[in-house]
């Protein structure tokens, strides 16, 4: 506890035991989370795992049933109006007004936050977005990638200390995604703390730290390497002479004891298990097959997450 107190000054988010139920179902169950200032923190988990709810609890949009903690040093239960002033929250869905122009949207946000030099702030943002010629177009007319950039711009206009991004890159093309992440890193370099939820593994690997949430429970956290190491998962990669051979192997191996997961990756198959010896016993009959070439490999983050998801569904449902 004394340890946590000394960290207090450096933690942007520090919550313990967060719990929230909707209609008798625990959506978030006893979640602890510590995010250091200036960190990019990846928030992973399957759909409906409670990511959005957790984010809403953090910024005071929802009141937790149990648990306590601080966000930017403010109490999440009693000081939510202050938190809102210093947090930028980008919702999962585009939530600016589609029937307002780009400029009107930004102007509205600036007015709500009471920004000094409102006009300059709005024009500066438009310029940075490279939308100068289109500022009077309706926001609804923008493509997905532009909407996302506009949404991001509108939630950093008031210079927040913490940015909460709820699946910001869903439905955005790879190039726009890359640019988006470059910008996130730039913002973090400037001292902004970023909490971002995502489904994409490449995005998870671009975070300083990640955590994994399933069925409201926090299952793992740390750097990507730490999470992989903690999982204890062993993986073999096998490639074969023909796709058909690989498909047949996948079919034969699935469900065998010692094998926790079989996942095809293009022309190869990832075969993973938590018990190294049992895994090797299970694959032994195929090891000397001339059509197949076997290689011991590091599990990917995706292997680890899919395994955790499967385990979680056994444990919590």
């Amino acid at each position: 506890m004394s340890d946590a107190a000394s960290f207090e000054g450096e933690l942007a988010i520090n919550v313990e035991g967060l719990t929230k139920s909707f209609g008798g179902r625990k959506v978030v169950d006893n979640v602890d989370m510590q995010v250091a200032k200036g960190e990019i923190y990846g928030f992973l988990g399957p759909n409906g795992s409670g990511k959005t709810t957790t984010i809403r609890l953090l910024c005071g949009l929802l009141t937790p049933d149990a648990g306590h903690g601080t966000c930017l040093g403010y109490d999440i239960i009693t000081e939510s109006p202050r938190i809102k002033l210093e947090v930028g929250y980008m919702t999962q869905r585009f939530s600016l007004y589609e029937d307002l122009s780009i400029r009107e949207n930004l102007d509205f946000v600036a007015r709500i936050y009471g920004l000094p030099n409102r006009r300059e702030a709005v024009e500066e943002t438009i310029e940075k977005l490279n939308l100068k010629g289109r500022a009077d177009q309706l926001a609804g007319m923008l493509s997905g990638g532009w909407k996302q950039r506009l949404a991001l711009a509108s939630c950093i206009m008031h210079k927040p200390q913490l940015l909460l991004l709820d699946e910001p890159t869903a439905g955005v093309d790879p190039k726009a995604r890359r640019e988006f992440w470059d910008e996130i890193h730039e913002l973090a370099a400037g001292g902004l703390t970023v909490l971002v939820s995502t489904h994409y593994m490449d995005e998870a690997e671009r975070c300083n730290k990640i955590c994994y949430l399933a069925y409201g429970h926090l299952l793992a956290r740390g750097t990507a390497q730490e999470v992989i190491a903690q999982s204890g998962l062993k993986t073999w990669t096998v490639s074969g002479s023909s796709p058909r051979r690989i498909r047949k192997l996948a079919h034969d191996l699935t469900g065998k004891s010692g094998i926790d997961m079989v996942a095809p990756f293009g022309a190869t198959l990832h075969i993973s298990g938590l018990d190294e010896a049992a895994l090797e016993r299970a694959i032994f009959p195929w090891r000397n097959d001339d059509d197949l070439s076997w290689r011991q490999d590091d599990p990917t983050l995706e292997d680890v997450f899919i395994l955790m998801m499967n385990k979680a569904s056994d444990n919590f449902t």
Partner: protein, 379 residues
Amino acid sequence: MMGDRFNFRRLAALIRKEFIQMRRDKLTFAMMLGVPIMQLLLFGYAINSDPKHLATAVFAQDHSIFTRSFIKAMENTDYFQITERPETREEADRLISRGTVQFVVQIPPNFSRDLVRGAEPQILLDADATDPAAAGNAIAALRVLATTALNRDLTGPLASRIPAATPFDLVVHPRYNSENRTQYNIVPGIIGVILTMTMVMFTALAMTREIERGTMENLLTMPARPLEVMMGKIIPYIVVGYIQTALVLVAARFLFEVPMIGSLILLSAVLLIFVAANLAVGFTFSTLARNQLQAVQMAVFFFLPSILLSGFMFPFRGMPVWAQWIGEVLPLTHFLRIIRGILLKGNGIVDIQTDTGAIMIFFVAATVVAMNRYRQTLD
């Protein structure tokens, strides 16, 4: 520190945004101004609960001076217009069953002979009573006619046939609307009806739209307080309500010459309470509706009893007691009494206090429900 307390600058930003959206939504904007005008013209020009010059067939089997006098007197009431003169009873029946005429007057053979003899002949009036309202006043007019129409012709020895004077003289004096003009009753009522319809529907829609499009979430993550959001929705529509009222009042004055005896300032003051009560209902609906379609359905659900049971369409006193009780709950019922009272009777603040109080109670109750529901939606 800002963000903690109610903030007028943020409220102004929300109101400003609402007006931009209103202006951009061309259809809704057109409805706001178009609905009052359209309803006013429809109700004002097209609807008349005291119709005159109704098509009448006269089946006369007697062609004396008395018959002619009687028919002339009928036409003079303005209610009857003799359009057909059937020769047979069958033809007369066909005319009324097909709806060619509203009335058939049958004057029996020997009408004048029986009249002279003092045998009290009968005149038969067949009325198409499928629409009682249309026939009612005409029949009443004819009853009066029966006692007086022939007085002029009953002279000399026939003077004794003039009906004896009734023991008392009944003088009907329609007050406040002595010409019995339907418009005087309907046009002020239209203001209440339009406000009930548009205010409930527009707020319900405006809030539900924010929730449906996900913009509500964004609003709440920003420092806008719930009360600011609610007022930011309601105030623009109060302004719209006043514009609609002004529009109808001006039209009422110049198109229909509806008298405006009472104080318009008093009317605008009561209007505020009435509009706010309806907005609170719309706001409550918006917290219940999942999408805009449901919001519209709920608005109609509220609008129907309002228009039917408030005394706008049908006389309030003619309804059964249970229906009157429902009517008493609705703000429109009281507003109709107030606005008719102020415009037509010149009522002052003392005369309208009971009805104003009733609207106020409704407003407070609706606001409490709205705020409670609203808080639940947030969590």
